[in-house]
Amino acid sequence: MPYTPHTAEDIREMLDVLGLATVDDLFRSLPAAVRPPAGLDLPSSLSEEEVWRVMSNLAALNAGQDELASFLGGGVYDAAIPAAVDAVVSRSEFLTAYTPYQPEVSQGTLQVIYEWQTFVTRLTGLPVANASMYDGSTALVEGVRMALGRTGRDAVVLPAALNPRHRRVLETNLASEGVTILTAPIGAAGTTDPAALRALLDGRAGAVVIQNPNHLGLIEPVDALAAAARDAGALVVASVNPVSLSLLKTPAEYGAAVATGEAQPFGVPCGWGGPLLGFLSCSDELKRLIPGRVVGRTVDHDGREGYVLTLQTREQHIRREKATSNICSNQGLNMARGTVYLALLGTEGLRELGAANRVRCEALRAILRGIDGVQLPFAGPVFNEFVVRLPRPAREFRAFAREQGILAGIPLDGFAGCGAGDLLVAVTERRTADEIERYGSALRDFLEQ
């Protein structure tokens, strides 16, 4: 049978040592009532070639972003993955290692985590980061929990233009913890209104979430929002697209206590939304409230530099019900992807990544501005994502564009005051000038139908 080495002789010898006649004798402690009378009703074992055929045929029934020009975003982006990233993480040494509980034989994984923590702190400007969270949504949940834990308050302000998928996860989590959720409205500009936020803050809220850019792609007035939070004694929890931190103001620069986000564009395939790569960083004052694994640099008994899991008294395996979080397994290998990706980019590469996103985004916006009946409803600055308002239902255009090999965007109908014509469009460094031209042509053709 696949993947096990036992010969019939091995089995007999092992049973002899145990003084048993059959393997099933080992299962005598299982009462008859719990045993399936006919075993498992599943197909029989297949050869590797047969399984490969089944699975590659299933894969062939899908159409992904390698064959379609994708303008989809909303938290997950069609970003280029250097071959070196796959080369490193497919090494068994990283792929098949366990959580580094035995540091003497896990220095590779531990040093990679320390490098990831460093990369995250350099992107967000905050001094402490952990080894990863499941995704951007759960990272944000944990960030809010940290801020509420620190302030001892029981309400959080979420922006109206928060990623709705993240909002849903926050609602599931916070409702059962008895946390009140308040919503800060957006103004006509499509960004959170600082005056309205101020009016909402009455001393109950311990956390104010700022998503930058917001779910309409717009760059938020982060300084004014953070000042409002600060004046009301609330901590700012930022949710940021880390690619945008190549250019945009860091959460530390506007005074966030926690910065979270989805780092999938750093070398992780979209994979239908998982596995992703949540990240979390925080101020020094909050470091003992941070969830999950954290690696520290130290020395061994012979004075050599080495790395260990540290501040473990926060964690579930020590603190049980008093732990800061229940997280145990995280997104380790994707964290390694992100680390190798950023090591390949360096300072210059990261800056160029930001610029490559910017120029493509603005090129498409320029084309769309020139199409009759099409509006860019919000005038404010964006990074690589924006709303386009069509005179006809966005869903119809999406279907029309798909016929031409284009994934046109995410319909926003019903989100934050958006209507049926509104479409969220993302443009990454993978899009070519030709694809961007084709997007414009497809929209013109659609409107002329």
């Binding site: 096990t4 040093q111 130290t298 395996h317 320029a366």
Partner: protein, 501 residues
């Protein structure tokens, strides 16, 4: 700051410690370059107030340097393709390469989660196949693939149980019973759902104590979380009676499926009387641990609880798959999308390769391996609760402590010198000096025999020279690390500038 230069020294092959990545960069070096923009010039300027004051200071390296850095770092890791990994409750089995090849297929890996169902038919079919297989294996009616890890599955499972009680107006059911042998994630997950964990003391045989259970249940009981087989490797043979007691009190039963590798095809959680189970695909179903993740922790539930699972739900009608958003229903969500899909595809690949017959044999051989190893270790280590252990067992180094003055930690560290990863130690908490061994089915008899030889050799060393153990390991890239200093003065990121060498 100038880069510190040291004289050249020879080093042992294969285990060179690496200088920090952040000290290796040099201004002007490049690895990745961005695709050139071949369109018209456009104004990309952003308002100054939106921009960061200075670019992020990252190391600049060439691609060969990056590859060499990570290859040399990788040499410092133990991993499943290198040697035995007998970590109890972690099921460190071989991770088939076919799984990786399948998950990397562009038709899966390049899908965006906001695409239409028409572009996802093969994927949805695969995920439905996996859900159906997991339901068959556990005996349940419905499955959610959304949880990204075991603890995440526990959390969702507790949310489901809480939602069901609230739905019936039973708001007072907020207490969850947890045996003292449970994983730390269990109580931590309960607390996060706003409920309260209550510890149940195990009986003298290491199993649930029915009298203690009867005394503990009541109108406050939301449910009980049980790992079965439990962390001692023992099947809770009274489980049907346990289920009767808890259900009679109005509570539900949650099974932590961390140890499912023991009972594939041999017992079904639904037949035991459970209402919810989570499965660790990165344990039982062979997906890699990746140095900490990503795993996947799907949950399976009874028909009654199906309507409390996250949306969307995959539906199939005459060979066409769609995602039902379950509009108008109030369902929980614990992940932005549908969970760790790539991990789920690996698990499906494994299940197809093994088949129903193969999965049953997985458990038979996992249990055979563990029992053989337990038996052979008699006289070397003290085995606790030996009667009826399944896929893992608990030994203790208690008599080593008495006779030789060495602790379980010392034994574990010395194993590293023999190329074996240390077993899980000091868990479960209810056994003093615990050593928890789970060999899994993918290890050969020769490997198990060598493990016994290694323990015998270490025991002889302990008798002769206990300091050899107390200061172990000796052949690893680093010796024991100063964890106290790491926690007292946390150094959590590189603070120096990059590219100044």
């Amino acid at each position: 700051m100038s880069h510190e230069r040291q004289g050249a020294t020879p080093a042992r092959w294969g285990a060179d410690l690496q200088t920090s990545l952040f000290a290796k960069g040099r201004a002007g070096r490049r690895a990745t370059t961005m695709p050139a923009w071949r369109g018209d010039d456009v104004d990309t300027a952003l308002p100054a107030g939106a921009l960061r004051a200075a670019p992020a200071d990252l190391p600049s390296l060439s691609e060969p340097e990056v590859l060499r850095h990570y290859t040399l770092l990788s040499n410092l890791n133990h991993h499943i393709e290198r040697g035995l990994y007998p970590l109890g409750s972690c099921t460190m089995k071989y991770n088939p390469r076919l799984n990786e090849k399948v998950a990397a297929l562009s038709g899966f890996a390049s899908l965006h989660p906001e695409q239409d169902e028409a572009d996802l038919q093969g994927l949805l079919c695969a995920l439905k196949l996996l859900q159906d297989a997991l339901c068959e294996i556990t005996g349940f009616a419905a499955c959610s693939l959304q949880p990204a890890a075991g603890a995440h599955g526990e959390y969702l499972g507790m949310q489901v149980i809480r939602a069901r009680h609230l739905d019936r107006g039973e708001n007072g059911r907020t207490e969850v019973l947890i045996p003292d042998s449970a994983h730390g994630t269990n109580p931590a997950s309960v607390v996060l759902t706003g409920m309260k964990p209550r510890t149940l003391k195990s009986g003298p045989d290491g199993r649930l104590d029915l009298d203690a259970l009867r005394a503990a249940v009541g109108p406050q009981t939301a449910g009980i979380m049980i790992t079965n087989p439990n962390t001692l490797g023992l099947f809770e043979s009274d489980i049907v009676e346990v289920a009767r007691i808890v259900h009679a009190a109005g509570g539900l039963l949650y099974m932590d499926g961390a140890n499912l590798n023991a009972i594939l095809g041999k017992a079904k959680p639904a037949l035991m009387g459970f209402d919810v189970v989570h499965l660790n695909l990165h344990k039982t179903f062979s997906t890699p641990h990746g140095g900490g993740g990503p795993g996947a922790g799907p949950i399976c539930v009874t028909q009654e609880l199906a309507r409390f699972l996250p949306a969307p739900v995959i539906r199939e009608d005459a060979g066409v798959y769609r995602l039902d958003a379950c509009a108008g229903e109030c369902r929980p969500s614990v992940h932005a999308y549908m969970g760790n899909t790539g991990v789920c595809l690996r698990a499906l690949t494994y299940i197809l390769r093994l088949g129903g017959d193969g999965l049953t044999r997985v458990s038979e051989r996992a249990v055979l391996n563990a029992n053989y190893l337990r038996k052979r270790l008699e006289g070397l280590l003290t085995v606790e609760h030996a009667e009826g252990t399944l896929h893992e067992f608990i030994a203790t180094g208690a008599d080593w402590k008495e006779k030789f003055g060495v602790r379980t930690l010392d034994i574990a560290k010395r194993m590293l010198d023999y190329g074996i990863h240390a077993p899980t130690i000091y868990f479960p908490l209810i056994v003093d000096e615990a050593i928890m061994v789970e060999p899994t089915e993918t290890e050969s008899k020769e490997t198990l025999d060598r493990f016994v030889d290694v323990v015998a050799a270490i025991r002889a060393e302990a008798e002769r020279d206990p300091d050899l153990l107390r200061t172990a390991p000796h052949t690893t890239p680093v010796s024991r690390l100063d964890e106290a200093a790491a926690a007292r003065r946390p150094d959590l990121s590189w603070l120096g500038p990059c590219n100044c060498g």
